[in-house]
Amino acid sequence: MRLFLLTLTLLATLTGCASKSYVKFVDNSISNYIEVDKVNERTRADGFKEIEIVGENDTKYYKQFRYRVTWEDKDGFEVPSVSSKWRTFSAQKNAKFRINVIAPSKEAVVYQLYIDKLND
């Protein structure tokens, strides 16, 4: 029983507790206007992670939103960056949009990208 608990704890430490990268709408109403089709990720030759969010505005309205990205190292510690502050982006009507962000350092390997309404 003790061995089982130890194994479980070890597994939780190694896998379950590790932070994961994700893209999140802060407000559900955003999904009325845009959707995220895919998230491209790559590690460049210089070791920096690069992400690109590809989405689409299916409506007939030009919309502006804001986004911010937070980065973590492999141990789950935050890697500070100027890109962690809110920035605006445009989603043209009936068109795709892209958000491209490069990690602030080689150590930044996990990201959380938040999309929010421009004026809350």
């Binding site: 500070p80 809110w86 920035r87 490069i102 350092s105």
Partner: protein, 202 residues
């Protein structure tokens, strides 16, 4: 009785003047500022320009050396060509911090703008008997820069004719390879604002 009344009235008036009537001061939430835009440049504009510049610099191959070592960067002249009293360090410092933290760059404070005078002052201690000479920096230890970051912030005011004005701010930066004199990277961020012609953009 009249003395008491007068004293009370004076005290109340003084209290009102000192506290109740004072304008309320709020601290800005720098991470989620929903305050109205101003026609001049504020910290949000510098944040945006710095974020765009650093993202563009990190994406460019200009700062990647084949052996993986860091680029030694000097900060050259960044001109404020706006009507505002701006310390261009408001922009450059953010870029310097981000580039330093990226692990790709080391910034020299021995030459360029914003030099640290201690680089020279500490070397002037040679032959000063008050100092242990073995702790004084030797000749030839300063590292010369390989690249230089320079730029300009430009303001353009346009009268829109209906009592409104448009103000455009251009943040223009260049990264130069000092060995060859070639610009390896160029970046430009534009921030435009429209407001009342009565607003003052300086």
């Amino acid at each position: 009785m009249n003395t008491i009344k007068t004293t009370l009235l004076t005290a109340t008036t003084a209290l009102l003047l000192l506290s109740g009537c004072a304008d309320k001061v709020e601290r800005i939430d720098m991470n989620n500022d929903k305050g109205a835009q101003v026609i001049g440049l504020d910290y949000r504009d510098f944040d945006q320009a710095a974020a765009e510049a650093t993202q563009s610099l990190l994406k460019s191959p200009a700062l990647t050396k084949k052996d993986g070592s860091r680029v030694i960067l000097a900060i050259s002249t960044v001109t404020n060509d706006t009507m505002q009293h701006i310390d261009t360090d408001q922009l450059i410092k953010k870029i310097r911090i981000e580039l330093l933290n990226s692990g790709k760059v080391l910034v020299t404070t021995a030459v360029g703008s914003n030099t640290d005078s201690m680089n020279k002052d500490a070397r002037a201690l040679k032959n000063d008997a008050d100092f242990d000479q073995s702790t004084v920096q030797k000749k030839g230890t300063l590292i010369a820069p390989e690249m230089s970051l320079s730029g300009k912030i430009v303001q353009r005011n346009i009268n829109m004719g209906n009592g409104k004005q448009q103000v455009e701010y251009y943040f223009m930066l260049s990264l130069t390879d000092i060995k060859t004199g070639l610009a390896l990277w160029e970046g430009e961020s534009v921030i435009g604002k429209r407001g009342s012609g009565k607003s003052v953009a300086w």
